[in-house]
Amino acid sequence: PVTVFAAASLRGALDAVAEDFGADVSISYGGSGTMARQIDAGAPADIVILAAPVWMDWLQERGILGDAPRTYLLGNRLVLVAPADSTIAPDPGNLAASLGDMRLVIGQRDAVPAGIYSREWLQATKQWEALQNMLAETDNVRTALALVARAEMPLGVVYRTDAMAEPKVRVVYTVPDDQHSPIVYPAAALTDAGKVFLKFLQTDESMDIFAAHGFAPVKP
């Protein structure tokens, strides 16, 4: 069987894709940082798909990946979501105004990839300083999504893929992808079996499934 170490936010889409692969596929989902360290410590992965290029860079620097070129497998978009039944209509350039005494939920600013992208966006739109005391950061995007879905908080920044899968939220704004570094999922095959699976992931059929879950293809 092929063992895949994949970023948690791929859960769902990647499961669906893997179903069509001929052989058994075991997918170990986790945080990008954790998985990078595991690969470094000799994890028995055939292929690794991370949510953050920095960790792939880190693996490369440590010589784990050899000189196999990395593949940017998928892309994603950042969206601003609100609870499905909320009527909030925020100004994306001045979120603070719509929050009142509530908070904006994002992934942890330095730790969670989605949080990093969110920070970049908010910095690019010059509202980071203003929002400093109006953030609630979570340890992964899914928690952020859940907080908005449960209407604990009025607004959150998550991936488009997450928003699409969660009926209890509504996308109120899609962040232009030039306001943050590109959201890409770098993949690297560590074994020959991995290479085969990576090829399979890049087939049009696979890509269609990913697209159906909201992922965008990456143009190199």
């Binding site: 990008s32 908070r103 340890d139 928690t143 209407a151």
Partner: protein, 229 residues
């Protein structure tokens, strides 16, 4: 390299949260421990199981459950909010999460201590005229002090280390709800963040070890007084 300001903030907050979590949990834990050790009542098994549950569940689940119960949209959360008590996204929520996660440890230690108290001593106090409550405060409690201390230090250590339930329930608001463990976790998510993490791990360990040793010292005193040394 020295810890940055955020680390100190996180330490301060962790200490604050752990302090309150432990302090508030002690009387409740003693009471529950006493119930479990000494009373037979309908639903005892349920209570016993409930106390252990936070041990078994992944902390994230506990965090979600807390959110379900005390979130802004939950009835209980709204009721508390009306009373001016805010838990979700607030350090008080971190206190609650830490209490719940440490509770099984505290209860168990105290329960074992209570079970070790000879009921004949309590009976004797009653024959000397002490009403139940007094028997508890003058006989039972002093005798279980080592167990209470043990439970307290376990609860405190757990509160210092709690992460999963806390971040799920109160998220991470730097300076407000970012505890040391969550800062440590965050540091580990950044390539090269290990040094910062190590720093904070040392801070957390130092505090917890100090607490463990302090409790040890106190327990020894109590034991020495009983042994008459």
């Amino acid at each position: 390299m020295t810890p940055d300001a955020a680390a100190w903030d996180a330490l301060r907050l962790s200490l604050w949260v752990a302090f309150w979590a432990t302090l508030l949990a002690i009387p409740l834990a003693v009471w529950v421990a006493w119930l479990l050790a000494r009373k037979d009542f309908w639903g005892k098994a349920v209570l016993n199981a409930a106390v252990h549950l936070p041990l078994v569940l992944p902390p994230v689940v506990t965090g979600y459950l807390l959110l379900l119960a005390f979130g802004r949209t939950a009835p209980l959360g709204q009721a508390l909010n009306a009373l001016g008590i805010q838990l979700a996204f607030h350090w008080t929520g971190a206190v609650l999460a830490a209490m719940i996660m440490g509770f099984p440890l505290m209860v168990r230690a105290m329960r074992l201590a209570i079970e070790a108290v000879d009921p004949k001593l309590e009976d004797t106090a009653a024959t000397l005229g002490a009403p139940r409550g007094m028997v508890f405060f003058r006989v039972t409690l002093p005798l279980i002090l080592p167990g209470v201390l043990a439970g307290t230090v376990m609860g405190f250590a757990k509160a210092m280390g709690e992460f999963g339930a806390t971040i799920t329930f109160v998220a991470n608001i730097p300076g407000k709800t970012q505890t040391l463990p969550s800062a440590i976790w965050a540091a580990l998510q950044i390539p090269g963040g290990e040094r910062q993490a190590v720093m904070m791990v040392l801070m957390a360990s130092t505090v917890a070890i100090a607490a463990v040793l302090l409790a040890e010292l106190l327990a020894r005193r109590v034991a020495a007084r009983i042994a008459g040394a």
